[in-house]
Assembly symmetry: C2
């Protein structure tokens, strides 16, 4: 595999994966780069270029084998191997993510949810009972935790990240609206406000 695959290509992989999953569910076994391109709003040449970053996936004659391509992209994304995750913050956003995201389909298993708010401790979200955040260190000493979802208020985030990194957490799905980085860990910083501004821009251009 090409080690210098650009972030733009990487960010398209989950989309390819979703589309191929749809095709699979509809029992479609072959797909051409032309068909994929029409469905995804990219050019066929862009799609072939993207796939070439990973060796090309051997398109033969009239197209790609959907199931093989689906599994190969899943392997590249790493989601066929499950890592453990906890969530810190069980407010509305935490509830929404815990109840509605299918973590195991994306390579993670949620094994703990924490909050400081007594009103939510003991409640069950996505099958997991919310625990008081003062049990966080204990939990991480007893359980191997790869990733943490940050849905707690912004003020607490920096200290929380330092604690979690020191306890071995290597990945963060960060909804604090701050860009966070730490040596040795990776952060997916989600900025919903940026998404909203991008929409505002697109609406102006569309007028």
């Amino acid at each position: 595999m090409n080690n210098k695959v650009s972030m733009a290509v990487i960010r398209r992989l989950p989309r390819y994966y979703r589309y191929l999953g749809e095709l699979l569910r509809n029992d479609i076994q072959k797909v051409s780069s032309k068909d994929l391109s029409e469905k995804m709003g990219l050019t066929a040449s862009q799609i072939r270029q993207d796939f070439n970053c990973f060796g090309g996936f051997g398109q033969q004659g009239y197209g790609y084998n959907v199931e093989i391509l689906y599994n190969e992209i899943g392997d590249i994304l790493g989601i066929n191997t499950i890592k453990t995750a906890i969530m810190v913050g069980a407010g509305n956003l935490g509830k929404a993510l815990g109840n509605h995201i299918n973590f195991e389909k994306r390579g993670f298993k949620l094994i703990g949810i924490f909050d400081v708010n007594e009103g939510v401790i003991g409640k069950v979200i996505g099958g997991i009972t919310v625990t008081h955040a003062n049990e966080l260190s204990d939990f991480l000493e007893k359980n191997h935790v790869d990733m943490a979802i940050l849905t707690a208020p912004k003020v607490e985030t920096e200290n929380l990240v330092d604690l979690l990194v020191s306890l071995g957490v290597k990945g963060f799905w960060n909804f604090s609206n701050m860009d966070i980085t730490r040596q040795g860990a990776v952060f997916e910083n989600v900025h919903l406000g940026d998404s909203l501004m991008t929409l505002r821009y697109a609406m102006n251009k569309n007028e």
Copy 2:
């Protein structure tokens, strides 16, 4: 302004805007492309290239004037002019967005929230009382609505979008996890699952 600005550049504008806003709050009046680049993890040349898409913003000697640059990027994004928005779906995600997103800072004013669930109708989210979704058409005939936030269950989304487009809605912030398009309207399709898969990929690369 260059009309062929790439989506990659557009998606960086909200980040520039956030960083410049931080500088402003810290009373910093000038910033060089080098300083900006260090803060944002881009090269200085990339930043100058991005800004050149919009005429360059006239960097002079030792840097850009932060307040002018902030306002110009805000104007380009269109967020200095407010458009009206409604939200359809007042579950956990709707509550999270309604309570925590500062819409007016991003060019929108939330003027209505709708749901079909009697348990949530009459509740107040972000200062707005949740109304039954059967009043949606009435509301749109009486109020000019530019944008709709889709946080209702997936099954209802396609029909809902057709209704809203027919009633004049031109933009959609779409959390249904489906890629939706309609002639004459723009969609910002948010896929949190894709973000999670991107994190899973990054964690593998980091091992």
